[in-house]
Amino acid sequence: MTGASPEAPVLDIRDLTIRLRGRDGATLLQDVSLSVAAGETLCLVGESGSGKSLTSLATMGLLPEADLEIGGGSIRLCGEELRGASRKRLQALRTTRMSMIFQEPMTALNPVARIGDQIEEVLLIHTQLGTAERRARVLDILAKVNLPDPRAIMRAYPDQLSGGQRQRVMIAMALVLEPALLIADEPTTALDVTTQKQVLDLIRTLQKDRGTAILFITHDMGVVAEIADRVAVLNAGAMVETGSLQGVLSNPTRDYTRALLKAVPGLEPRPARPDTSAGFALELDGLDKTFGRRGIFGRGREVRALDDISLHLRPGRTLGIVGESGSGKSTLARCVMQLEAPDSGVIRVCGDHVDNLHGASLRNMRRRIQMVFQDPYRSLNPRVTVGETIAEAPINYGMPHAEALALARDLLVKVGLPRNAADRLPHQFSGGQRQRIAIARAIAVEPDVLVADEAVSALDVSVQAQVLDLFEQIQAEMGVAILFITHDLRVAARICDDIAVMRGGQLVEWGPAAAVLTASRQDYTRRLLAAAPGSHWDFARFRPFPVRAPDMTGIAAPGRPA
């Protein structure tokens, strides 16, 4: 099916420039050139705003034409110029010669159409096959992407499938006509690590069988290390450097690339901080929480979100809660914050009960535990100035308005923002800056415990590193205990003294970071570690780890930290 000669690249982009429409429209992509050969995987790496998605959309002819235009350069697919090709021609090429899969498997499939119909539609549009043949092809491709019971899947709707299954469906849809080029735009970013690994394996296998050229877009260096043949680094709309995987990872020539790689946290645990305090900042004892008990007619499925969770945390230390989606780690955070009431169990802050409080005592407790949310775009009221946002809690606890605003300005400086940021609205800040604001808000009432729920997951690696530094700095200054919830083992390794691993509402393992990350006796923990992409590579030092994966024989049973 591949129409290209072996030597000629399947995709050849030359000096591609993309700008905003209109007079003096800003240039978003400047003279980018890249090529992908048959059977080859090119990883296009960059942080948000670097232009990597624009490049892929331009190739597919899916740029939002009302706002953007291609200002120059050429895009050749199997030798055919796509720039300026008619809409009809582009439509005909899609899925036949080039396909694309997207980041969010949850939203990329039409939620109201059956899986089978959605894949069959590709055949309907592009082939003359009869109904029976089409269905056979669909069954065949569903089996090829390793989906169990393809017949059932065909009849299913997207919401009946897991994220990993949906991404397989997307891959099936993209590859059913065996295109020469597959563009994969962050296809595994939204998936759990174990699923991610399976999907990456699948893509690799299918590529091997068909010789597909893959343009793989990602921000995750781990994934790059797993899948790339060659790497292209993009920054602010310009190509930084291109080279072989080995070359770029071990010998980056540009400062930007070096910085990018250095920011990737390793899987090595940080050295634990000294255990100074006698008491506990936070104690959880036998927390239970079950969701989904319903009324007379609809007895919905019950989900055990927390099952007898007991943990504690000393002042000045950080406890990481690690787990995949559905493990119950966010529910734990919400119970600690009293945003959800646990069914049973006890929560103590510095020895005081905080559960089952109401009214004034609840309000008084709240100043002692604060939280930083995952999504910096939604956790700040878009209509309230930054200063007022930070000052809100102090004012609530009785501080005069002017004093609270002054405090807010001081805190902004503390989190690395200018004082006058207080007068602006959240939308004038980047994601990282907003997360700094959220941290300033959280520490404004000098809490004993700070809960960070996936606080850096939405950020680019370089920004992530800065925010993690900020957490450390604040902890050092204030001695606050941090409950750090994350799905990312690298982040946990980077910041946590202790790590608790959760799965399906249960505590799998809890111990010092070093013990959990390097010497776990729990299968699940080990599987998690093994699935972490690029775990063999020490990005910050531009070299592979001496020992690949944690030692399977184990050293000592990790005990509970005293």
Binding site: S48, G49, M337, L339, R363, R366, R367, I369, Q370, M371, F373, Q374, D375, Y377, R378, S379, L380, N381, P382, R383, V384, T385, G387, E388, E392, A393, N396, Y397, D423, R424, L425, H427, S430, G431, A438, R441, V445
Partner: protein, 294 residues
């Protein structure tokens, strides 16, 4: 409806909102619509100075005159000057339009807030709202006017009541989706009390949908008043309103289309302006349409 928004924005932010409102194509729309609304409101307010005739003065010898220099828009079946009545009519119609909008939005906002925020009250309140919505609006209005007597106040209430459930539902939906937004939870964690939480964090989210609904209520109130006049249960027929000028003119449509044309023209202009203004402001206050997510 700018109250909560204004207080939620500090001074510099407000200035930036205002300056961004005044620039670009949006600025033109806002300029023109505000000018139209202001002009109509001013003409109505200044009716006693501008109107060439007493809008109530009967003149049986000058019935149903066509437009002329003497009577710009002609005269009605009682020989009253239509131009003067349209000027004066604006007062009542605008009072009804604005009044019904404020009343419906205000009441609906409170009901929606309570219903959206307090689960316990929700079921009862929403059943009552369902009941109100299920009853034919015009019928309800007729019954209320017949019950309480035809006056501007009664007609206002009669027009407003059927609109309240719709507003309440919109507010409730916004509150339900906003109350679990991280920034609201963050505020709760910050120890913010319910009153302030609603005023500062929840109510502003309702501004955008309420602007749209409000402009709709405004239009529908003025038109419903016309329908009530048509049915003979509107405000007293001697008091001019755009609605009853048109209802009176309905019978003379083939003879003197101007009796309907002029008030309808002004009414359409006002409603068009109010709607466009509502839409532009909605876009402006809707955080989704801002530079929000990068």
């Amino acid at each position: 409806m700018s109250g909560p928004v204004e207080t939620a924005l500090s001074r510099p932010a407000l200035l930036s909102v205002l300056s961004s409102l005044m620039t670009g194509r949006k600025g033109v729309v806002i300029g023109v619509t505000v000018a139209v609304l202001f002009a109509v409101a001013a003409l109505s307010a200044l009716a006693p100075l501008l109107a060439p005739y007493d809008p109530l003065a009967l003149n049986m010898t000058a019935r149903l005159r066509p437009s002329s220099a003497e009577h710009l828009m002609g005269t009605d079946a009682y020989g009253r000057d239509i131009f003067s009545r349209v000027l004066y009519g604006g007062r009542i119609s605008l009072v009804i339009g604005v009044g019904a909008t404020l009343l419906a939005v205000g009441t609906g906002l409170v009901i929606g807030l309570v219903s959206g925020f307090f689960r316990a009250a929700d079921a009862v309140i929403m059943r009552i709202m369902d009941g109100l919505m299920a009853m034919p609006a015009v019928l309800l209005a007729v019954a209320i006017v017949a019950l309480a007597g035809a006056s501007v106040g009664t007609v206002l209430v009669a027009i407003t009541i059927p609109e309240i459930p719709r507003v309440a539902r919109i507010v409730r939906a916004v509150i339900l989706s906003t109350r679990s937004a991280p920034f609201v939870e963050a505020a709760r964690i910050s120890g913010t009390r319910i009153g302030k939480l609603m005023w500062r964090h929840l109510i502003p989210s309702t501004v955008a949908p309420l602007l749209v609904q409000g402009s709709y209520v405004f239009a529908s109130a003025i038109l419903t008043e016309a329908v009530l006049s048509f049915l003979g249960v509107g405000i007293s027929p001697d008091i001019p309103t755009w609605g009853n000028i048109m209802s009176e003119g309905r019978m003379f449509f083939s003879l003197r289309p101007g009796m309907i044309f002029w008030p309808a023209l002004i009414l359409s202009l006002v409603i068009l302006a109010a709607n466009m203004l509502g839409d532009v402001l909605r876009d402006h206050f809707d955080p989704r349409s801002k530079t929000g997510r990068a």
